[in-house]
């Protein structure tokens, strides 16, 4: 059941989480550059440490600027709260380590950001947490992969690299049937285009480095709790949340807060002990970006549509992968789950293979050649010569891309300038392969 919003998304993006401070009347969110906070008394200190009173103790655990960002994303996403982390990877790690320890198991979409795939496929097994990867759109495979020790289902709103649209309502039902939480990485859509919690997901994570900040100056991650999973009804699967934790005053987090137990444990253990907190400076910069999130996402989508429309007609383009196209297998799903658009990231394949791809990239002047997405500036990368350099043509195909695939992150520039730049790159590639 979606949470009722107190205001529209554009209003929340500007105001949620902050009222002008009562002392100085600052309209903008102040940057609280402090490691720690003065206690009123010994009794006050003890009460803060024991969570008898609300407040800040140490900026690794909470910070007033970060708290504004946390409340803002929670308000936008329809969550009961959020935690700001040092990066999207930190947010993912915090979520997993809050829910499970050694012996835990995750069922995850095969179409994940490479960093998430590395964490789940290579790093976490060293700590006794295994992952079964399944095709994003194969509901039966998700169901079949669930084991008695499974503790989480995880996927991305729009998958990498094939832009598969995650069928969140179906996966949420599979998760509910198995009494497991579903977490969705919504980095590429942001709450402007999709709120996974409204569709039945339980936890949402964002790499705030991307569209939320939008300016490409600050790394950050956000973890949002939907407050819609009943940990106490999970038959002991989540002892980190339903049994006393000696590491924090013997607190039983679900007893303390049946609604926000996940966030309580994540903050009181994971953020405290693993320490991947967000700098308040980064929180401020991400907040500045979020103020224009709605406007920017509209332009990202509009520009992406213009570029896709141009590329599908170009004779040197073999194919374009974009969920709004008739040729994409998830077109109907995208229309249903992403009615406001599929963001600004898409990929296309050039005729002429690896050489065409690398020449195309070198021919671009406006697009920046780098390994990031979600910037205000347009970005391009040729996986076969960079991120997937060591992979053979066959391996690339298995990963859903070709030697000539190029990924674009459409920025906010004037669309005609971007099209002109693409044509420049396409001309160079075509000439090199002639």
């Amino acid at each position: 059941m979606p949470i009722h919003r107190n205001a529209g998304a554009d209003t929340l993006a500007l105001h949620a989480g902050q009222t002008p401070d009562p002392v100085h009347r600052s309209r903008a969110t102040p940057i609280h550059f402090t490691t720690s906070y003065v206690f009123e008394s010994g009794d006050h200190a003890a009460a803060l440490f024991n969570q008898e009173r609300a407040g800040h103790v140490y900026s690794r655990i909470s910070n007033p600027t970060n708290a504004v960002l946390e409340e803002r994303i929670a308000a936008l996403d329809g969550g009961v709260g959020a935690i700001a982390c040092a990066s999207g990877q930190a947010a993912l790690t915090l979520a997993i380590t809050t829910l499970m320890g050694s012996g835990g198991h995750i069922v995850a979409s095969r179409s994940l950001y490479g960093g998430s795939h590395n964490l789940l496929g290579y790093t976490l097994p060293r700590f006794g947490i295994e992952t079964t990867f399944v095709p994003a759109g194969d509901a039966d495979a998700w169901r079949a992969a669930i084991r008695p020790n499974t503790r989480l289902l995880f996927g991305e709103s729009i998958g990498n690299p094939g832009l598969e649209v995650l069928d969140i309502p179906t996966l949420a039902q599979i998760a509910r049937d198995a009494r497991l939480p579903l977490m969705v990485d919504a980095t590429l859509v942001t709450p402007i285009l999709q709120c996974p919690i409204d569709l039945g997901a339980n936890i949402v994570m964002h790499s705030a480095t991307k569209y939320l900040g939008g300016h490409g100056v600050a790394i950050g991650g956000l973890l949002v709790d939907g407050g819609n999973f009943d940990w106490e009804a999970s038959e002991g699967r989540f002892p980190t949340l339903t049994e006393p934790y000696e590491g924090f005053h013997g607190m039983d987090f679900a007893e303390e807060s049946p609604i926000a137990a996940f966030l309580l444990r994540a903050r009181r253990e994971g953020l405290r002990d693993f320490g991947a907190c967000l700098s308040p400076m980064n929180a401020f910069q991400i907040l500045q970006g979020m103020e224009t999130l709605g406007l920017r996402m509209e332009r990202h989508v509009a520009n992406a549509r213009a570029l896709v429309e141009h590329l599908v007609k170009h004779p040197f383009v073999e194919s374009v992968s974009w969920p709004e196209l008739d040729t994409h297998p998830d077109k109907a799903l995208a229309a249903s789950l992403l009615p406001r658009g599929c963001g600004g990231v898409f990929s296309f394949s050039l005729k002429g293979g690896r050489k065409a791809g690398s020449t195309f990239i070198e021919g671009l002047r406006l697009f920046s050649h780098l390994a990031n997405v979600g910037d205000a500036k347009s970005l391009a990368i040729h996986p076969a010569s960079t991120t997937h350099f060591r992979m053979s043509a066959e391996s690339l195909l298995a990963a859903g891309i070709t030697e000539g695939t190029v990924r674009l992150s459409t920025g906010l520039e004037t669309a005609t300038d971007l099209i002109e730049d693409l044509d420049r790159g396409l001309y160079a590639a075509q000439k090199a392969c002639a």
């Binding site: 009722h4 008898e52 609300a54 409340e71 966030l263 903050r267």
Partner: protein
């Protein structure tokens, strides 16, 4: 911890500590559609400062078995049985909103069990607006939205939470969603139907605190006067109005509510010296 009342299991939060004999007990009664968790930031402090704490999920709410009681009088009788089952001594009984009516009626019916009384976000009578009462039956989501709109001060509507990183109105909505269908309507109907407030107040002899919030639009501090005047002259009565908070004051201003209760208990510590 779990207690048994009338043969049914009752969940009681104890502030994170086991209760011990020989201590006064703070008993906190939640409001309509809620459970014990609305009191977390008041109860933990008491539990580490020499008090026992007993915060039940009312019957049919949270983790307590039903049946749900359908009138304030029935709920008061149930609280009387709970206090007996818990075997506790001197008691500060506090309630919020519907819980305040239950606490008031309990103090009137079981005067020997209540040493101090605190009514938080309270008025009597407590009529529920017809559109809200109707929505609790016909459209629960709409009712939740209306409650949130009226329960939080303007500053809390868009956030700026007292609890870092938490979206207070969303927590309240999820908490209400978690209760079984019909629970909120029966609670609201019980509030709406309760007509015994003045009569109960006249019977109360123990020190009483009327704690309001300046921006409460559900139970405005201005509307508390008739109830305050219903208490007898011999009843020590304290009034406290918390600024910058609305009806959901335990979440919006948790420290101020805690201090209000703590200072009240301290001012009338002699009432807690021996079992009444």
């Amino acid at each position: 911890m779990k207690l048994t009342v009338s043969g049914k299991s009752v969940y009681c939060y104890t502030g994170g500590r086991a209760n011990q004999p020989g201590r006064p007990t703070l008993v906190l009664i939640h409001g309509a559609g809620h459970d014990h968790s609305v009191w977390t930031l008041q109860s933990r402090y008491f539990a580490t400062h020499g008090w026992n704490v007993l915060v039940p999920d009312l019957p049919g709410h949270g983790q307590s078995e039903g049946p749900q009681r359908e009138s304030i009088g029935e709920l008061a009788d149930w609280v009387g049985l709970l206090l007996e089952a818990a075997g506790i001594g001197p008691t500060l009984l506090a309630g919020h909103s519907m819980g305040s009516l239950v606490a008031l009626e309990t103090a009137a019916r079981f005067p020997t069990r209540v040493s101090l009384l605190a009514l938080i976000g309270s008025v009597a009578p407590m009529p529920v607006a017809a559109p809200l009462l109707e929505a609790t039956l016909a459209n629960r989501d709409k009712a939740h939205a209306m409650i949130n709109q009226w329960s939080y001060a303007p500053g809390s509507q868009l956030g700026s939470s007292s609890i870092p990183g938490m979206n207070l109105t969303a927590i309240n909505e999820r908490l209400m969603q978690r209760q079984a269908l019909g629970v909120l309507h029966r609670d609201m109907s019980a509030c709406n139907a309760y007509a015994g407030g003045f009569e109960a107040a006249a019977k109360v002899r123990c020190p009483t605190l009327l704690l309001s919030a300046a921006q409460d639009r559900m139970t405005s501090p201005k509307a508390i006067t008739p109830l305050a005047e219903a208490f007898g002259q011999e009843t020590p009565l304290r009034k406290l109005v918390i600024p910058a908070a609305g009806h959901a004051m335990m979440a919006e201003a948790p420290g101020a509510v805690l201090e209000g209760l703590w200072n009240f208990a301290g001012a009338f510590a002699s009432s807690l010296q021996e079992r009444p």
